[in-house]
Symmetry: C2
DNA sequence: TCTTGTAAGTGGGACTATACCACTAAGTAA
DNA sequence: TTACTTAGTGGTATAGTCCCACTTACAAGA
């Protein structure tokens, strides 16, 4: 199975594109959907100096076993944690997106509960920060074609949230149904009907009630915990329209 | 925006993976879902000699504007036609899949009506042929990791057919509702209920009735034609279970 | 202690797309 | 004319959600 020199000769005729992996890491905090962006180095040696970009970079064929491994490595470097959810979004490749030459990037998106995160300044990123995902602003001045990648990631996230249990991966270990519904509402940008929401979640059988309540100024709420080994649940129908 | 030598220096530390594009091209003919496979050259210069593989190959950074353009080029080379439907499936990359080195492939899948196709022997493929998609057989001895890629493509195709109008892209210019239903049934591997099927299609408003009937030994059937500029239609609910 | 306010959680009928199944319609072949 | 087959429809049942009003449970202040 090992390569041999004959093969190499044949390959010379094709220039190899640059190959990178980028990740859209989402969380919900302060009542908003946020994405982690890193600021590119300010020196002129790199393209798009000092601009914000999705975390990512070149594949290290020595260290990375496969594409997903590369994504997990970069994700861990930035956030310091393993992600509970990682999905491949797709790949983008053309001659223009990187001024250094024909390049292709493999894009992943990840969901991480807000409290889990410990931001680290990465080796190749002067700074990293959570940006609220707003249709207008981001989309403009990210490095490379990352604005487009981010739009695609947000679009995929929203459409999957319509009919799956994806947002549970954004919740802390214990949470109330109202908090989960809020997370759905923040991502979708609209209100959901309480009864329908609870009926769905109950029938999906995703959580165990823990024998504790969340107290506040009002009626205490039941706390739940995600069952072990619960994969993504797909609901038979998408969420309906708005409430109140 | 042009590259400069400084950048190149920095990039030397990363070996560039081999980059390819592969396509799963599907059609329905002879009452079966089929996929186009090409036989790799028999000489020992290439890996997996004489084995069957998905059509595809290296990106030509001189000719290919982007990944999808590369996929369309290879598709046209093999089938001689433009495809009515092309979608990116995902990418696979690791150190083992190609004996020549760390490689990543960008996989697309395409749907083509059976009569449209004129198979051409490609430059790098001694032969190409339609293979029925059967869970058991294919999955064993395709070149590279193409068995896995094909499984993923079939899986994606099936799951999208459950709740979209995808199979219309497999139909000839004029067709009957019974023929369309048959196409659905062949892909899904189960019978669908006639009335539900027709109600769905009617409400989707995808076709125009042409003023002609398809005659046979029995009652003639209305012929339909796909409306112009009809994108993929998504039904509010997936198809239900079997009939008779 | 009682009232007020607010969020948690539920009861029950309405609605909608599909499931199910029986029926009619329209042709060919013997 | 009858038998057979496939096209196409009518009408009720069902499932999951929608919608809205209601009850429950707590804190805070009068």
């Amino acid at each position: 199975m090992a390569g041999n020199k004959r093969h190499i000769n044949q390959l010379v005729e094709f220039e190899r594109p640059l190959t990178t992996v980028d990740i859209a890491i989402f969380t919900v905090r302060d009542q908003a959907l946020k994405v982690l962006l890193v600021q590119r180095p300010a020196g002129a040696e790199d393209p798009f100096p000092a601009q914000w970009a999705l975390p990512g970079g070149f594949i290290d064929t020595a260290k990375d076993e496969d594409l997903e491994g590369c994504a997990r490595r970069k994700l861990k470097e930035k956030t310091g944690v393993e992600t509970p959810y990682l999905e491949q979004l797709g790949s983008w490749g053309n001659a223009q997106r990187d001024p250094r030459g024909w390049s292709a990037t493999h894009v992943y998106f990840a969901l991480i509960p807000s409290e889990a995160i410990v931001l680290k300044a990465g080796a190749n990123s002067a700074d990293s920060r959570w940006f609220p995902v707003m249709e207008e602003r981001n989309g403009e001045k990210l490095a490379f074609d990352h604005a487009e990648l981010l739009r695609a990631a947000v679009s995929r996230l929203r459409s999957k949230v319509e009919y799956t249990s994806l947002p549970v991966f954004l919740m802390p270990a214990e949470f109330t149904l109202a908090e989960l519904q809020q997370t759905y509402e923040i991502i979708l940008g609209r209100r959901l009907e309480k009864k329908s929401f609870r009926t769905r979640m109950a029938s999906a059988d995703l959580f165990d009630a823990v024998p504790r309540m969340k107290s506040g100024p009002n009626r205490p709420a039941q706390l739940y915990r995600l069952k072990r080994r619960r994969p993504l649940h797909i609901f038979p129908r998408p969420f309906g329209s708005a409430e109140s």
